[in-house]
């Protein structure tokens, strides 16, 4: 049973797997729970086969609610939000935490409308404020500034969390509570998911720990293979500046910046990117930034920890070889 002061954490699944961003949300929920005493309930929607729940035991919630039915297999925002809202009405949680993924942001916003609850999206800090309230910090103007907000009042609040920011050391192996599994068929709604198209093996730029980004300085689409090689050695993914996307060298999902994706990886390597404000806005939250540019005065160096002045086409393959050596040896 959940008591009236619980924190619900939406566990996002991808196919039959729990997405790592969900564990970050759980980790954040548990940290809040430690200071406020509120109980954490993980809520998961999945197809008729329940996914392997063991990853959750790294950050074991106090209770676990699973909705399992063939019709939950593909995420249907309308069905999930209406069922989630019913649960909110029955159990009156204080807070809902969701990863700020595409689905998570959409679900958070739908729930904010359904429950008339304030929403703070894409937060990078969350803490308890006094006994009942929360304080969050979130980037605005895609990271050119931050807003600190108080979420106050005894009602429901909703927070979505920027991926890669709330990762935690997996705690001492705690025991996962037994899942309360609900197998009733979801009601029929007007939205129908016709097709889910996945690019196999691709890590999304917002979820990658390492992003190797290329700008116009990469000269042409044929040279992005060099960045793919470097990214794959580092277990990361490739990003791009806007003109690279506009030229059709890379897909829009790769675009980093104010009108692209905002990323916060551990390591961001900018290759042949000048460092326009719109680009910096989307990546300045990265923990460590490396810039490679042949122009020693490029603006990108002003946000970098490490700079290399030189030809990216020459430097990148050398880096790939060096990383390969130290990571394998």
């Amino acid at each position: 049973m959940t008591d009236k002061s619980s924190i619900f954490v939406w566990i996002e699944c991808q196919g039959e797997q729990i997405k790592p961003v969900s564990l970050e949300a759980l980790h954040c929920g548990l940290q809040l729970s430690e200071s406020s005493g509120q109980k954490v309930c993980a809520v998961l929607f999945c197809g008729s086969k329940v996914p392997d729940l063991s990853p959750l035991s790294d950050f074991a919630p106090h209770s676990l609610k699973v909705f399992s039915h063939g019709r939950w297999q593909d995420h249907n925002s309308q069905a999930v939000s209406s069922t989630f809202f019913k649960m909110i009405q029955e159990q009156s949680p204080r807070l809902i935490l969701l990863p700020a993924s595409n689905h998570g942001k959409e679900l958070g916003a739908l729930l904010s409308g359904l429950a008339q609850a304030p929403l703070a999206s894409d937060c990078i800090e969350v803490e308890c404020l006094g006994e009942n309230d929360f304080k969050v910090k979130r980037p605005i103007y895609s990271g050119k500034a931050y807003a600190s907000l108080a979420l106050e009042g005894a009602g429901l609040h909703i927070i979505t969390l920027r991926p890669n920011v709330f990762r935690g050391e997996s705690g001492s192996a705690t025991v996962l509570p037994e899942a309360d599994i609900n197998t009733t068929e979801p009601e029929s709604l007007s939205l129908i998911v016709r097709e889910v198209i996945k690019e196999a093996g691709k890590i999304d730029v917002t979820e990658a720990r390492v992003v190797v980004s290329g700008g116009l300085g990469m000269q042409g689409p044929e040279n992005f293979g060099l960045l793919e090689d470097l990214a794959s050695v580092l277990g990361g993914t490739v990003g791009a500046s806007r003109p690279v996307v506009d030229n059709g060298w890379r897909d829009y999902s790769n675009q980093v910046g104010q009108t692209g994706r905002s990323v916060s990886p551990d390591l961001y390597i900018a290759c042949g990117i000048s460092g326009a404000v719109q680009h910096i806005a989307g990546m300045s939250g990265s923990k460590c930034i490396v810039a490679i540019n042949k122009d020693p005065n490029a603006a990108i160096f002003s946000v970098a920890q490490y700079g290399i002045v030189g030809d990216a086409l020459e430097i990148v393959p050398l880096l790939t070889a060096e990383f390969k050596k130290i990571l394998n040896g």
Binding site: N102, L110, I140, K144, E207, L267, S284, V290, A304
Partner: protein, 259 residues
């Protein structure tokens, strides 16, 4: 078909931001139509090009100076515009914004409501979906393609997800939030700019403040704005390319511990 497009005025993405007296300050920077809203306006105009009896209404909520973006949208091809003038709007409260838009939209006829995926100032991605809930219509967000059924009664939209896409079908009316990839927004032509002068812009100044149907004792309050922490200046590596590569690999591994 009747289309409503919600547009917002934002600061030029080129702007550098300061904070002055607890507010965002960007002296000398232009104000523009939120870039994602341009995709929404463009999509509506393209639908109208295929379905000439389409009627496009732009709605914006903002201060007096937001009028410029309505002019832009009308010059792109929208038919009329509604300007909800609200100079003491709390831009941090997305729900309040959705409610105000709802008050204006609810009594109108519409088949499709288009919004941007998010506004590039608040980056909240809340107003569109929250508005769809108030209007009691489905929403599809981050849309990169909209296909209509032959009789224009249903839509199949492609939307972005991490590492892929989904195709989602919905009946109309529907709310969709638009993402880059959907189209390439046109620049208003001279003819469009001339035509826009004659188009109607209705101003609403006294919108009632209405609460939603669900009571929720929770509110959001801005505490403070801050700028990102200043970064230390970069360590510029020197020497032969191979030496720099070696030094960097070692520093990332041993000093930064990011590998």
């Amino acid at each position: 078909m009747k289309i409503i497009v919600c547009v917002k005025q934002t600061l030029d993405t080129n702007a550098s931001i300061e904070i002055k007296d607890g507010a965002i300050h960007a002296p000398g920077s232009a104000r523009i139509m939120n870039p994602y809203d341009e995709f929404a306006v463009e999509e509506a105009v393209r639908i109208k090009e295929n379905q000439p009896d389409t009627d496009i209404t732009l709605i914006t909520l903002g201060g007096e100076n937001s009028r410029d973006i309505l002019k832009t949208g009308l010059a792109m091809g929208a038919d009329r515009a509604v300007h909800i003038i609200d100079s003491d709007l709390d831009d941090f409260d997305g729900l309040a914004i959705a409610r105000k838009l709802y008050e204006v939209i609810k009594d109108r006829e519409f088949d499709l409501v288009l919004c941007g995926r998010q506004a590039v100032d608040q980056d909240r991605a809340q107003v569109g979906p929250a508005l769809s809930v108030l209007l009691d219509i489905p929403a599809i967000t981050v849309v990169t393609k909209i296909d209509f059924s032959e009789d224009y009664s249903r839509v199949v939209a492609t939307r972005q997800i991490e590492g892929g896409a989904e195709r989602i079908e919905s009946p109309l009316p529907l709310l969709a939030t638009c993402q880059k990839g959907l189209n390439t927004p046109r620049l208003p032509s001279l003819k469009g700019i001339m035509a826009a002068r004659k188009k109607e812009v209705v101003e609403i100044t006294d919108l009632p403040n209405t609460a939603g149907s669900v009571e929720n004792d929770a509110k959001l309050r801005i505490l403070e704005l801050s700028l990102p922490p200043q970064r230390k200046s970069a360590i510029m590596l020197e020497g032969q390319p191979l030496d720099m590569a070696k030094e960097l690999a070692q520093a990332l591994r041993e000093k930064e511990k990011v590998l």
